[in-house]
């Protein structure tokens, strides 16, 4: 029984989520391991979400937002870029595998890119194996 990763996807409403919808309507196939949560903007993401997601058993976390310069709220993703970069450095320094947390800019018209990124990311998590460092053991 091969390992089925649990991947948390956090997608911004205006770009990435719409892009994911587009992937769906154009019947693009991608692995179903990703559980997508919609936020209005990538800057809604509190870095504690990422840490907590790993504690609650996520094997990988994928964040998607609008391309810098194209944020629906003008500047949200520019703050998010800095904030999530720091979160990534924290995870790296504490010893979490860096490949488990990824940030991608995916626009509403990039259904292809969404499917590609999810496929690639799922394969990567599969090769990294189950996440045991942060996961809270019952």
């Amino acid at each position: 029984m091969s390992f089925e990763p649990k991947i948390l996807g956090i997608a911004c409403n205006w770009c990435t989520y719409t892009g994911a919808d587009l992937a769906g309507t154009t019947r693009l196939q991608y692995p179903q391991n990703i559980r997508v949560v919609r936020v209005m903007c990538s800057s809604r993401i509190n870095p504690s979400f990422i840490f907590r997601a790993f504690q609650l058993g996520a094997d990988g976390v994928l964040v998607g937002g609008c391309h810098p310069g194209d944020c629906h709220y003008n500047t949200g993703n520019l703050y998010a870029r800095r904030r999530l970069a720091v979160a990534k450095k924290i995870l790296e320094f504490v010893g979490m595998e860096p490949g488990r947390f990824r940030v991608e800019w995916i626009s509403a018209s990039e259904g292809n890119k969404f499917a590609e990124v999810v496929t690639e990311f799922t394969a990567q998590i599969q090769s990294l194996g189950p996440q045991t460092k942060f996961k809270i053991q019952p």
Binding site: L78, R81, K88, E92, F93
Partner: protein, 288 residues
């Protein structure tokens, strides 16, 4: 050159007396005698008669700038600061917690400070490594020149070289020892949030009990909240009863923020803290 602690103490007393007599400030944040010579305490002088109780020696490691946010806005305060402490003042001004015109900054150029709990010398390994205050109104001693300029990030080399599993094993062992006394939070001058995120229960960000899951949430989130704001005074690690090397993590994040965003915390009062700022030219490379 060696540091004349006596002279600094005399100058500190002189300035405090002058400021209080002329009523330029309501209080002077300085150091006073503790239960013995090697354990001075932070001391607040409110009248000229209090000035005689002021001391300054190599054990005065406490960061007095953390007391600035305790007083109502507009209170005129004089504060004695060493290099890292002066960066705290700059950072607090950047964040609009105090106004520059309400402060009289008494700068102390010094090296060779010692940790009162262990007697160890405090240097760039556990603190920011600067000798001279970055902002001051009065300098209480001679500016330090000729001392080796050391990077505060040298101590990270050993940990950056570890592979991630070894690093995880290291931090897991350290954070398991945390008893959640929150001395680090209270010792930190930049931790002034009321309520602190960890005290909230809607939502509950981390478990209350002193075990690894809650400890990880508390510390990792706190490292994030201090990103680009930590001025590397080392007080958190000195306050920790379990000797957890928090300064290593804070230094690492400070180093990354300097590299990614081109700005160190607490250097110029015109700066904007890095996480409430952005540049269009920020590179996507920082996310790799």
């Amino acid at each position: 050159m060696s540091i004349d602690f006596r002279k600094i103490e005399d100058n500190l007393k002189k300035e405090a007396r002058r400021l209080l007599e002329a009523q330029k400030v309501s209080l002077v944040l300085a150091y006073g005698k503790g239960f013995d010579e090697n354990h001075p305490m932070p001391f607040v002088a409110r009248n000229v008669s209090d000035v005689d109780c002021i001391v300054f020696n190599e054990y005065c490691s406490a960061n007095l700038a953390r007391y600035l946010v305790r007083y109502p806005r507009g209170t005129k305060i004089a504060v004695a600061v060493k290099a890292a402490d002066s960066r705290t003042v700059v950072q607090l001004i950047q964040e609009d917690k105090v106004k520059r015109e309400d402060l009289v900054i008494l700068g102390i150029p010094v090296y060779g400070m010692k940790d009162p709990k262990t007697g160890e010398v405090i240097d760039n390994k556990t603190t920011c490594g600067l000798y001279n205050p970055v902002l001051y109104d009065v300098l209480l001693g001679e500016e330090v020149h000729g001392q080796p300029v050391l990077s505060p990030y040298d101590v990270l080399a050993e940990y950056e070289a570890m592979d991630q599993d070894a690093r995880w094993a290291f931090w897991q062992k350290e954070f398991e020892r945390c008893i959640r006394c929150y001395a680090c939070r209270k010792a930190c001058p930049m931790c002034y949030c009321d309520p602190c995120f960890i005290d909230q229960n809607k939502p509950r960000w981390g478990e209350k009990s002193p075990e690894l899951p809650g400890n990880l949430m508390f510390h990792l989130t706190r490292f994030h909240h201090l990103a680009g704001r930590c001025i590397d005074c080392g007080e958190c690690s000195r306050a920790c009863p379990m000797d957890i090397p928090l300064y290593l993590f804070h230094k690492k994040i400070a180093k990354e923020c300097e590299e990614m965003f081109g700005q160190a915390a607490g250097m110029k009062i015109e700066d904007k803290p890095v996480l409430i700022n952005f540049r269009m030219e920020d590179s996507d490379k920082i996310l790799e």
